[in-house]
């Protein structure tokens, strides 16, 4: 990478993990609610 | 139009007569206001922050909580002996009912603020005399904003569980905007800035009032009719 580009890929990784975690958690919650009852 | 306002006034007058006759709610709200102002006095470090910088926030946070307390009981008294049902079978228009409740709430909150403002001046030694009129204008506009949505929500909340907790949760997001405007306007007034710097905030407050009184007026019938 050229000089001057900030090295902050850690934040990128964190965000890219958090998003699918939230989505999957919600999908699981929906699944549980619709199959219960 | 005349009948609309006439009926609204009939409802409002009845509410205010009831409020002043029982006094419990009004007195509690006034004492509550005084207490919150006292809490603010102890909840700050006077050596770190100048009172004048904190004053607008103190005033408006106090008034916001006082308005919330007042609004909680707005429809409570219509539940007694099923009076609300009586209002709904009567020829009273739903718009008049909303306007009447709005007026009564404005009266109630207005009284609380009329006591709260001098206490605020006394406790925090804020020089309001030179800007008293514009300040009252700010208070009036912001109060209409608080009460417009508040009246609508209090009509819904009385028929839910945990009504006392529900109203703040629903209402606070709607109060934050007029609160912001009022704080900004008050800060400029107290700092002795020219009125032209305040007029923008006043316009925003007025716009907020206009929008939400209209919306609440249109939506209110749906909260009481099936």
């Amino acid at each position: 990478m050229s000089e001057g580009v900030p090295q902050n890929a850690g934040y990128l990784v964190a965000a890219y993990i958090v998003v699918p975690v939230i989505l999957l958690a919600y999908a699981a919650s929906l699944y549980r609610r619709s199959t219960r009852s | 139009m005349r009948e609309l306002l006439g009926q609204a006034w009939t409802v409002a007058r009845k509410d205010l007569v009831l409020e002043f006759r029982t006094r419990t709610a009004l007195l509690s709200a006034v004492v509550f206001t005084a207490l919150v102002l006292t809490v603010f006095n102890f909840g700050r470090d006077p050596t770190a922050v100048a009172t004048i910088d904190l004053a607008p926030s103190i005033l408006w946070v106090t008034f916001t909580f006082a308005a919330m307390l007042a609004l909680n009981r707005a429809f409570q008294l219509e539940l007694e002996n099923g009076a609300l049902e009586g209002l709904l079978v009567s020829p009273l228009s739903r718009h008049s009912l909303y306007l009447g409740k709005l007026l009564a709430n404005l009266g109630f909150v207005g009284v609380v603020e009329a006591v709260g403002l001098p206490l605020f001046v006394l406790f925090f030694n804020v020089p309001v005399a030179p800007v008293l009129l514009p300040l009252i204008g700010v208070i009036a506009l912001a109060t209409v904003g608080f009460v417009s949505v508040g009246t609508l929500f209090s009509a819904m909340v009385v028929r839910t569980r945990f009504a006392e907790l529900m109203l703040p949760v629903l209402l606070l997001p709607f109060l934050l905007l007029p609160l912001t405007y009022a704080v900004q306007a008050t800060a400029r007034l107290l700092a002795g800035r020219p009125l032209s710097e305040v007029s923008g905030w006043l316009k925003l407050l007025a716009a907020y009032d206009l929008v939400f009184v209209t919306v609440a007026l249109l939506l209110f019938p749906h909260t009481v009719d099936e």
Binding site: A15, V18, I22, L24, S34, S37 | L172, V215, L219
Partner: protein, 222 residues
């Protein structure tokens, strides 16, 4: 195939497509020179924010029509859209600070956009709390519709006041990445991601709608 099953498939497809967006965003989209890799958070953050707003606007529209038509399907849709909107708002509110820390140097600022998303989040939470506190189905639907409309008006008012009175509001000190001048590769990635979020929204709403339907059936069979 039931609505819930269809919804699950749509979500599954959405998640697979999201994987595609990851590949494109990480490997085939250039790194922004001033913000570095963290700028790529925007490919998730902005679409989630737009979808949240869309979800809330649809709640408002469904609410308006519900009050006129009294069609329970509109109420179910509003409930579903509000819940999915809450989830997307949660994504916006988590990715926002993760981006803000390296770029602004702070987790949270009261930037106009972040603040308005926080408003949305509070309003949506209030919406669910209200729904949970009313036992009568007819009353619940009407109350929710009233609150839904008020919420949309408030959000609209916030946006309007930001644009009409720009001098009064604290302007965000943000470099706005989605402004014209963005390289086309970035724009395409952003639009693709937005499409994927829409697919996810549709799939989630279908499932949530099916749950509402199921509950109503259970309630009225008693």
């Amino acid at each position: 195939m039931s609505l819930a099953q269809k919804g699950r498939r749509v979500v599954l497809a959405g998640l697979v497509l999201l994987g595609g967006v990851y590949v494109r965003a990480l490997a085939f989209t250039p790194v922004e020179r001033f913000q570095g890799p963290a700028q790529k958070i925007f490919y998730l953050h902005v679409p989630a924010a737009v979808t949240t707003e869309l979800a809330v606007i649809l709640v408002g529209l469904a609410s308006v029509f519900f009050l006129f038509l009294k069609d329970p399907r509109l109420d179910r849709f509003a409930e579903a859209s509000a819940e999915v909107g809450t989830v997307f708002a949660a994504i916006v509110l988590t990715t926002g600070p993760i981006w803000g820390k390296p770029i602004w140097g702070t987790w949270w600022t009261w930037d106009a956009r972040l603040t308005s998303t926080l408003f949305l989040f509070f309003l949506l939470i209030g919406y669910h709390v209200l729904r949970g506190a009313v036992t009568d189905a007819g009353l619940r639907a009407r109350y929710a519709a009233v609150l839904g409309i008020c919420a949309v008006v408030l959000v609209g008012f916030i946006h309007m006041s930001v644009y009409l009175f720009p001098t009064l509001h604290p302007q965000p000190i943000v470099l706005r990445p989605a402004k014209p001048g963005v390289p086309p590769e970035m724009l395409v990635t952003l639009l693709l991601s937005f499409g994927v979020f829409l697919v996810l929204y549709v799939g989630f709403v279908m499932q949530r709608y099916a749950i509402a339907q199921q509950r109503e059936g259970a309630a009225s069979d008693v």
